[in-house]
């Protein structure tokens, strides 16, 4: 059928790698791990004003099985860290992680015994966002950083 009709006489060539990376980087579905006030800004990021659909990230998936990037938004206690790690382990590869805000990145103002001082203590974080809480633009910036990262990595050869 129709490839002829769509493309007419023309054709284009590409590598499988860049096709995969193009597809992956423009459909990063976030897993919202909203733990505190950062989650409100994360919701604004998905809303119409900031329009995450421009980056293919508007589909917030509440199932780890269907998502590509986990946005840890808020401060994380030692008790919660086990649940977060469990959700993270259920996400299929390839997957990425964003530490949103000062608390998720470093512990922030919660400098106390019950709060993990940065979720990178138990998660491989790809992008950190500063701010308390960060503006939705910063989340878009982090999504764009993840897109750049996806475009740079050797997707097919390393994901075997």
């Amino acid at each position: 059928m129709s490839l002829d009709r769509v493309m007419g006489e023309g054709f284009f060539t590409t590598t499988l790698d860049s096709l995969t990376k193009w597809g992956r980087s423009n459909a990063i579905w976030p897993m919202p791990m909203g733990l505190a006030c950062c989650a409100i800004e994360m919701m604004a990021f998905a809303g119409p004003k900031y329009d995450a659909a421009r980056f293919g990230s508007e589909v917030f998936r509440f199932s780890p099985r269907q998502s590509d990037v986990m946005i840890v938004a808020g401060w994380c206690t030692y008790k919660m860290s086990h649940a977060i790690r469990r959700v993270w382990d259920q996400m299929p590869d390839p997957k990425w992680c964003i530490a949103m805000g000062a608390c998720a990145s470093t512990g922030g103002m919660h400098r106390c015994y019950g709060v993990v001082q940065g979720v990178d203590n138990f998660l491989p974080v790809d992008a950190y966002i500063s701010g308390c809480p960060p503006r939705p633009e910063s989340v878009i910036n982090a999504i764009m950083k993840i897109q750049d990262k996806i475009k740079e990595e050797q997707s097919m050869s390393l994901d075997s």
Partner: protein, 167 residues
């Protein structure tokens, strides 16, 4: 809030306790009474049954970090009938941090006393279920004591394994 009612209630407590009422702070809107810890349970019963303080709002602890009478435990109770709010305070020594429970009077004291036990290690004699309420049961420290380091003891709380289960 009627201050005549407050004074009448205070007078009843003074008559009841006599010298065991050590201090009365009235600078604030609500009176705070420091009493002898030996008469704590008796006073609580008196407050509930005679003075109609049927609502125990909170039980909280404080670490004063002094060599004698190190801890204090404050009982915050409310009389809905008289619209009064009273605080009872007792000192607890570090050597023997034991107080009688008031769960037999107010059931709401159950979790509050467990929290004070969790944070300060003050035990409540007669409590039906004195376990830690926030921290893991094998946690060895009492975090709101002043000598506990701000960032905790490294390794005392477990982080998840960073190796996934499936491979």
């Amino acid at each position: 809030m009627n201050s005549d009612t407050k004074q009448a209630l205070l007078q009843k407590i003074r008559d009841k306790l006599g010298d065991d009422l050590h201090e009365v702070y009235e600078e604030y809107q609500y009176p705070l009474l420091r009493i002898n810890r030996e008469r704590l349970h008796e006073t609580c019963r008196f407050m509930k049954e005679e003075l109609h303080f049927i609502y125990l709002n909170d039980v909280l602890g404080t670490d004063r970090f002094t060599s004698v009478d190190r801890f204090e435990v404050i009982y915050h109770m409310i009389s809905l009938r008289d619209q009064q709010r009273f605080f009872l305070k007792v000192f607890v020594d570090e050597e023997d941090p034991v107080l009688p429970t008031v769960t037999d009077l107010w059931t709401s004291a159950n979790w509050n006393e467990r929290e004070v036990y969790d944070m300060f290690g003050i035990r409540f004699k007669g409590h039906p279920d004195l376990r830690r309420i926030f921290l893991p049961e094998d946690f060895k420290y009492f975090p709101l004591r002043k000598e506990f380091p701000l960032l905790g003891v490294p390794g005392s709380l477990e982080l998840p394994s960073s190796t996934p289960d499936h491979d």
